[in-house]
Symmetry: C2
Subunit: 344 residues, 2 copies
DNA sequence: GACAGTTGTGCAACCGCTTGCATTAATTGT
DNA sequence: ACAATTAATGCAAGCGGTTGCACAACTGTC
């Protein structure tokens, strides 16, 4: 079928082991021999078979990337960055979509385990225990989840939620609704925890609505409930829900931001293009993808790296938030973004 | 390290070949033995190593999926559908992003060739000759491109472009601009061919602007040029460009659709959420992803399938198109969508 | 000119699994 | 009751590579 190391060996008159070394340990082979072998290989169009190599070396040069929903606009930039970074290190990426189903997550990790050097688990929905167990079967890096002993890249949504709620209370909002995300989401718990604390500190009432599916529809369907709760401002689990919510509010006759202010999280590309433009907490998605890959690849070097990398978020103020009925804080920044950065 | 066929053999007191057959040819092993082996395997957590198996069978149960830009909202639904369909058939998917670069496309196909059963090339930018050559090294299915002898799934954008232009001429537009896509895009050529012919038949003038990068920016930056050309209607290569164009037109003081009508292609999720909502040609992206995978997997059965599957498109009329200065055709449908379907 | 060190290559086992063939035991036909 | 099938299993080669070890053939040293 395809050209193997043996063909190259025959063509260049050396033993297969010499050909092998030409590619995987060039310094061990005589420069003359080496160039002859390379020439033959080139001419025959030889490419080492990675699967065969992996069988004996244990390194596959593949990475698994598992996300809840490829079509959720939050993920593509992450996937793209991860793929690009992986390929920079000569690795390829398996992508799997779990449809938010923890059982599928487990199955896919196991199915992939043998043919990857490690797996990136993005916003996983499974239990901590299961993740810990899986991490004994295959190197794991988790994105947007904190588990002791598991290397992780997390976006600091708690900080983001704090900035968002502070922005709202500073502008006089006292009745705030929080649209929580899907069950099992660590991010959603973090947001809730931080938003609750911040609201209390700002003397505002926080009503939690959810859990909800993290989609446009998830936001659309709770618009009524938001209005009934009498909230003048809403923080949504993500931009998609925020956008859906705005649709729902508008078609229920409420104005955004005059009657209700809405803040999303993620700053997906879409959020700049809707009307009103969405105020949102920007998360460094691409950076997270790159960092997660780097972490996974470094994993081999220092045994059992267990670092948690925190990426800061920032509030991007656009047109979906306005003043509320209460008194404004004089310290309210009229500015556009509250900056963050990258820290570890 | 991990549990192999040998461990299972030892535990169940049979030869490794029996264990192997238990999984890959169960009818050849005695039911009693089989269940004993299965029990041991289960208990040890055995999972066949696909790479090792592939080495001898030649079937990897992997598929390569190559796209120009994962972050382009056109692709995620396709990737998602393909991944889902692949996994239904117990296959996994490698995803690679080429950044619209033909050289990267070639390199990635070659790099992946050995570890996949086939490659899906989505909207490739390389030459026909190269694609033909690559298809001799690894089974290929091409999406959105027609090449004799290469199995393909194509969305009928020519039909879509025709519907779009007809819609415009019927509503009295006589000066129409076409924003073409990136160089090397078959889709772009098809659109241009069809739009030109249809415009001529409708006694309208068609100005081609481009090639342009298939992004929001690509549309944004040509807004001036569109106005200068005096066009009252524009068909863009894709929705992203159409949305960018609308942004550009609005901020240049033009109204959409009162001054300029805009039609996109693809009907990405975003297009329903912008203001004005975008009139667009809906392409069956998910169906294409599924069909391409099916075609690739069927490829093994009937040697060298060479079928071209055409998926129909439909015009979705929303708010970004309005009447033009010329006379309306009485036959202009006030309706919402011009239906299509699926045909081969 | 014998001795220890390099350097470059070949040999063969092995990674985890499949599969053609040989072997043995059980079943069938007559 | 015995040859001929048939069913179940074992044996070993091999898929395409890697790698520890042995073995030259050269260096340079005294």
């Amino acid at each position: 079928m395809s050209v193997t190391i043996r063909d190259v060996a025959r063509a260049s008159g050396v033993h297969i082991s010499t050909v092998s070394r030409t590619f995987s340990a060039p310094h061990l082979v005589n420069p003359n021999t080496r160039s002859r072998v390379l020439a033959c290989a080139e001419q025959l169009g030889y490419r080492p078979n990675r699967a065969a190599r992996a069988l004996i070396t244990g390194r596959t040069y593949n990475i698994g990337l598992i996300v809840a929903d490829i079509a959720n606009p939050f993920f593509p930039p992450l996937i793209k960055a991860a793929e690009s970074q992986a390929r920079k290190h000569d690795h390829h990426i398996f992508v799997a979509d779990t449809n938010e189903d923890p059982a599928v997550e487990e199955e896919v990790v196991r199915a992939l385990a043998k043919q990857v050097d490690g797996v990136l688990l993005c916003s996983p929905r499974m239990s901590n225990t299961l993740i810990e167990q899986l991490s004994r079967e295959v190197p794991l890096v988790v994105v947007n989840r904190q588990i002791t002993g598991i290397p992780a890249v997390v976006m600091d949504v708690a900080q983001g939620a704090r900035l968002a709620i502070e922005h709202l209370t500073a502008r006089g909002h006292r009745e705030i609704a929080l649209l929580s995300g899907p069950r099992g989401s660590w991010t959603s718990r973090e947001i809730r925890r931080s938003a609750t604390a911040t609201a209390r500190a700002g003397h505002a009432e926080l009503t939690v609505i959810g859990p909800n599916p993290p989609t446009e529809t998830g936001g659309l369907t709770v618009a009524e409930e938001v209005l009934r709760a009498g909230a003048t401002a809403v923080l949504a689990y993500n931009d998609l829900m925020a956008i859906g919510l705005i649709e729902g509010l508008l078609s229920a006759g409420a104005r955004v931001p005059e009657d209700v202010s809405v803040i999303g999280i993620d700053d997906i590309m879409l959020s700049r293009l809707t009307r009103p433009k969405l105020t949102t907490v920007a998360t460094p998605t691409a950076a997270a993808g790159r960092a997660a890959v780097d972490m996974l690849l470094a994993h081999g070097d220092d045994r059992r790296s267990t670092a948690h990398l925190h990426l800061q978020t920032e509030l991007v103020i656009r047109d979906s938030t306005g003043p509320g009925p209460g008194p404004h804080s004089p310290a309210d920044p009229g500015g556009v973004t509250v900056p963050g950065g990258v820290a570890s």
